[in-house]
């Protein structure tokens, strides 16, 4: 073997090793963060922590029950707003690839995706909180829904574009009207992609703090009224972590850990759904 060929083989091996090293390098920080948060937080999590309201400073114990319930409600309402709008918009974009409206809405969706969450929070503050006369969970949900939209729209569109045109033609050729083609053929065939988009968007907004600071604000008590301020997990972490008391900082670690578990479970669930409901084309 000539020296040149050996040199080439050496370069190839070197490059392979480099790619492996770099991919390991980007996993390491993630693993450290996970380990640290779980170490710090897992000990705080117990039944008491999950079911009790926060206590004033100085008292032992206290939990995040209100934040858990609040987060669920805010995310749930945001999903109710964003999912139908997002999916329908995604369907429109995939069915009318070349229309003017599709071009502009695609552009808007892309821009929306790039808008910082704090900006959305401010806008929600001026458009919803101010006119409605006070912080409310509903305005928080609205802000989060706006953040969910681009992800749902894009993932729905991408999924449906992957479906072959022949599928639509097959449906039309059987004399199906447009709405049945969409509801009975297009959506069922793309359901796994659409659902995974929805799940990812939920996971994405679960940890958003900035918009909630201006909208849902926070509440030390259990609240279920949508028009009143409501506590959420990210907000609880924010307020406790920035407080000067150590017990509260511990609570923040516990809440972080909860949030992390929630997002992880959602991600795993998404993967599972995608695999399970995947329609083999």
């Amino acid at each position: 073997m000539s020296v040149q060929v050996k040199y080439r083989i050496g370069k190839s091996v070197g490059f392979q090793v480099l790619t492996i090293l770099l991919s390991v390098a980007c996993v390491i920080p993630l693993i450290f963060i996970l380990i640290y948060i779980i170490q710090a937080g897992i000990t705080k999590i117990n039944w008491h922590f999950l079911t009790n309201l926060p206590k004033p400073v100085g008292e032992i114990g206290g939990g995040i029950a209100n934040a858990l319930v609040g987060s669920m409600i805010v995310i749930g309402v945001a999903s109710v707003i964003a999912i139908p709008v997002g999916i329908l918009c995604g369907i429109y974009l995939s069915e009318n690839k070349n229309s003017k409206l599709a071009y502009w809405s695609r552009l808007c969706v892309d821009i929306l995706q790039g808008v910082p969450s704090i900006v959305i929070g401010i806008v929600a503050y001026f458009w919803l909180v101010k006119p409605l006369g006070g912080f409310s969970a509903l305005s928080g949900s609205a802000a989060l829904a706006v953040m969910m939209l681009p992800i749902i729209i894009r993932s729905t569109e991408e999924t449906l574009l992957m479906l072959p045109d022949t599928l639509r033609e097959a449906a039309y050729a059987l004399g199906m009207p447009f709405h049945r083609v969409i509801l009975k053929v297009i959506i069922p065939c793309g359901i796994s992609g659409i659902l995974s988009g929805v799940m990812l968007s939920v996971a994405r907004i679960a940890g958003e703090t900035a918009p909630l600071l201006f909208t849902a604000f926070g509440n030390n008590y259990m609240a279920t009224n949508l028009t009143k301020p409501m506590e959420t997990l990210p907000h609880v972490i924010f307020t406790y972590a920035t407080s000067p008391y150590n017990e509260w900082k511990d609570l923040a670690w516990g809440a972080s850990c909860m949030l992390l578990i929630f997002v992880l479970v959602l991600n795993i669930f998404t993967k599972f759904i995608t695999r399970k409901w995947k329609v083999q084309l």
């Binding site: 229309s99 072959p164 599928l167 033609e169 097959a170 449906a171 059987l174 004399g175």
Partner: protein
Amino acid sequence: MESTIVKAIDYNAYFGDNHVVKNVNIEIPRNSVVAVMGPSGCGKTTFLRGINRMHELIPGATAKGKILLNGEDVMEMHPIFVRLKIGMVFQRPNPFPNLSIYDNVIAGYKLNGIKLPKAEKDKIVELSLSRVALWNEVKDSLTKKGSFLSGGQQQRLCIARAVAMEPEVLLFDEPTSALDPISTSTVEELFHELKKNYTLIIVTHNMQQAARVSDKTAFFYLGELVEYDETKQMFTNPTDIRTQNYITGRFS
């Protein structure tokens, strides 16, 4: 019953300003197999899709002229009604991937929301699958997904799906170009069976296929219907020099 089932009168089709089918006049006899052949881009597929008004689904596509089905102009009917009367099978097998084989056959009823009693459905499924010579192959796996079948079987499943709607005319858009030779000959044999109950119009790139399966052949060139005659006549003694050049492979 009148012997002509489909009749095109001065049919023209356009994509935007592009005139792809020019003044086509043709009469399709009932219970026959008519092959439509021609080089790529000659408008044969567009013409076929015009018959059941699938052409207009494409943005910017328009059509002029008349297409009579049993003397009634399909351009005046509702497209959905037309497509129930004129079924279509496509180039690539396209069973609904989310449905079982059974549901695929009755997809035309199921997905259109037509409720049928179970016995009726069973009957339709068995009859349709038998007509496409697939019943014996799949009768034990009716609950499996359509994509479980081989390419040739999938295409026959798609034919069964069209047949299940009891259309009068079946349109085939290059039905075997994605299939292997064995599946191709199985599907070709089907045409002879199917023409007992339906009228078949088959677009094909494959001249030999047109020769083998059809009673009459139409030759399209540059959007025009150049020649339309008995297949035997067409392949032994075509009248138009363009047809002659095409079928002998001397096309330039």
